[in-house]
């Protein structure tokens, strides 16, 4: 069932409409990871959650190199984008319709326990279009600090108002969000859908499991752009027959 809290909070947890595709997506991502890091663990859930234990003998430099290799393999993989879409197509179409752009790259985030590089509260920069939908897909069950956090629409609005009043007081602005953070409990099989204009981020992962998550953005073809150069950031993913016909007719008129 499609939930609509997104309009009140700026985010919601959405179940995959096609779990088999999501499982296939995770299998494929794990195959890149296990190949690169030479993991023997066949149980995907264990392999991902215990990743930090399985790679403890790899030096930090090699670990980073391997992470970069995995990210490269995943970020431009069109098959994985298809699997993301197929996993949540019903929900994506519900929010955005049938003429869709998709971010050219998939982002993979690996957050091991105690990793000291969390993400401070932010909105994406340069500012994204308000018409985008961000989809955050954990490949393992996430809760507490293993998850990302969100700041709801009202708190984001109030925080930004505070910053506008005192633009030099950055700490006051950040502190305002401290007790407004919510760490959505998102299981594998679900995704966090959120609006690009709410504040979000991650804290140090204080659990004893690694988080692997993907994120990607979809947007309606005929919606206004943000400051990210759209022809560079997005590609056309899907177009309805109706729109295709209308575009062809418009071209015909221009060329006449």
């Amino acid at each position: 069932m499609i939930k609509k809290e997104i309009y009140d909070l700026g985010w919601n947890i959405t179940e995959a409409s096609n779990l088999l595709k999501l499982k296939l997506l995770r299998e494929k991502v794990y195959s890149f990871i296990s190949e690169e890091f030479e993991l023997d663990e066949e149980d995907i859930d264990k392999g991902l959650n215990n990743f930090h234990k399985l790679v403890k003998n790899i030096s930090d430099i090699d670990l980073n190199k391997k992470k970069v290799e995995v990210i490269k393999k995943i970020s431009n993989n069109l098959e994985l984008v298809d699997l993301i879409y197929q996993s949540f197509s019903k929900e994506i179409n519900f929010y955005l319709g049938n003429d869709l752009l998709v971010q050219k790259t998939i982002n993979l985030v690996i957050q091991t326990p105690k990793d000291q590089n969390p993400t401070i509260p932010h909105r994406d920069a340069p500012p994204n279009s308000f018409f985008e939908l961000v989809i955050w897909i954990p490949l393992v069950d996430c809760n507490k600090t293993k998850s990302m956090y969100t700041i709801d629409l009202t708190s984001t609005h109030d925080g930004l108002k505070l910053l506008k009043k005192e633009p030099e007081n950055w700490n006051k602005f950040l502190n305002y969000f401290k007790d407004k953070k919510e760490y959505p409990k998102v299981k594998f099989g679900e995704a966090l859908f959120f609006l690009p204009y709410i504040y979000h981020g991650s804290d140090t992962n204080e659990t004893n499991e690694t988080r692997f998550s993907l994120n990607i953005r979809f947007k309606g073809l005929f919606t206004p752009s943000g400051r990210k150069f759209p022809l560079h950031f997005f590609r056309l993913y899907k177009i309805s027959e109706f729109t295709k016909l209308a575009l062809d007719k418009t071209k015909e008129e221009i060329l006449a």
Binding site: D99, L101, L221, F222, T223, P224, S225, F229, P230, L231, H232, F234, R235, L236, I239, T243, K244, L247, T250, K251, I254, L255
Partner: protein, 136 residues
């Protein structure tokens, strides 16, 4: 080795050297080099009258590398006439910033549809939409 014309965008506040560098990289990626340089007169960028003439007048060119596809959007519509004319005369078109390439034999209609739809969006008069909402 292919020979390409380099055509910068005269409207964006980016130094020409910066644009040329990105254009040069794209030319190399497409197994070629930049052998001629130019930019449209900014008073005529909507119709881009000059680029095809230069392509025809310059010998042994395989195509043109534009800095960005947005150069076709400076008029009221995506300049499809010029786009088609360049391709139909067997020249290649490359857009450096977006890393897109077209030739008569390699026309990706999905990408053209995106460029064209983007053009419709940026030329849309948002005020009309607001007027409509207000009058509802």
């Amino acid at each position: 080795m292919k020979n390409f014309y380099s055509c910068v965008d005269t409207l964006i506040p980016s130094p020409l050297s910066e644009q040329h560098l990105i254009i040069k990289n794209k030319a190399q990626k497409e197994s070629g080099a930049i052998t001629a340089y130019a930019s449209e007169e900014y008073r005529a960028i909507a119709s881009q009258p000059w680029i095809f003439q230069k392509l025809s007048e310059t010998k042994d060119l395989d195509g043109v590398v534009f800095f960005t596809a947005n150069q076709f959007n400076h008029g009221n519509n995506f300049n499809l006439k010029l786009f088609n004319k360049i391709l139909n005369n067997n020249y290649e078109i490359h857009f450096a910033r977006e890393d897109l390439s077209f030739s008569k034999k390699n026309i990706n209609t999905k990408i053209i549809d995106y460029l064209f739809s983007y053009s419709l969006v940026i030329h849309k008069n948002e005020n009309e939409l607001f007027d409509m909402l207000e009058n509802e």
